[in-house]
């Protein structure tokens, strides 16, 4: 892995089209600004991993039977505290 040292306000250019700027450093938190074309998706790693894992688990082969839903019981979307 390439390791670069940057100060707040300094940037890194990737492939001439993606600019990553160290926006602010506060204690152990770094705010990073990313300028990328719309065709370059940018995700937080843990969110990407979670959705990727979910997609892989959801992939079906063949023609599995689908469950019957209880139409009278919509379950509320989970909202963590």
């Amino acid at each position: 892995m390439l390791i670069l040292t940057r100060k707040a306000g300094e940037s890194i250019v990737i492939d001439g089209r993606i600019v990553i700027t160290i926006s602010r450093i506060e204690g152990d938190v770094v705010k990073v600004g990313i300028d990328a074309p719309a065709a370059v998706p940018v995700h937080r790693r843990e969110v990407y991993d979670e959705i990727q894992t979910s997609n892989e688990a959801a992939l079906t082969t063949g023609q599995p039977a689908v469950p019957k839903l209880d139409r009278s019981a919509a379950s509320p979307a989970a909202t963590p505290p």
Binding site: A38, L59, T60, V66, P67, L69, A73, A74, S75, P80
Partner: protein, 148 residues
């Protein structure tokens, strides 16, 4: 853009049920983990409502089970980033078809991914799996109310 349309995917569902090969959906960025697969068919099979199938065009034995979430999950209101709204060329929430990927968990149970909805422009049939601004409020394994 907050999307909470109770309007079902009716038009697309009807076409997906009647057209020979379903409705062609283009995902230029693929799904997360499946970035290289860009072309799918959307199918609705008789007796399987409210579920839809998103099947790979290059191998229709591989696919994903989808559901339009709003009738089955209350209080779901994905807030789509302005960048994604612009990318998908959505002029209003009604342009967006929101479908979420279902995981069959075995033993008859099923969960739905509310954190990474698939948003499709109804008119262009171009879609993207987005991470809404309020994704932290939602689960990737939200249980669906399966009839017992």
């Amino acid at each position: 853009m907050a999307i909470q349309s109770m309007q079902t995917a009716e038009l697309v569902e009807k076409q997906a049920a009647t057209a020979n090969e379903g409705v062609v959906i283009h995902l230029p960025l693929g799904l997360l983990g499946f970035e290289q697969v860009h072309w799918y068919n959307l199918w609705a099979l008789p007796g399987e409502a409210p579920f839809l199938w998103l099947r790979r065009r290059d191998d229709c034995s591989l696919g994903f089970l989808l559901i339009s979430p709003f009738e089955h999950v209350s209080h779901y209101r994905p807030d789509v980033h302005q960048d994604d709204v612009a990318y998908l060329k959505l002029n209003s929430p009604s342009d967006a078809l929101v479908l979420n990927i279902v995981t069959l968990q075995g033993n008859g149970k099923a969960t739905v991914n509310l954190k990474g909805p698939l948003i499709i422009n109804r008119h262009t049939r171009i879609g993207k799996q987005v991470v809404p601004r309020n994704a932290a409020d939602y689960s990737v394994q939200h249980p669906l109310p399966v009839a017992t």
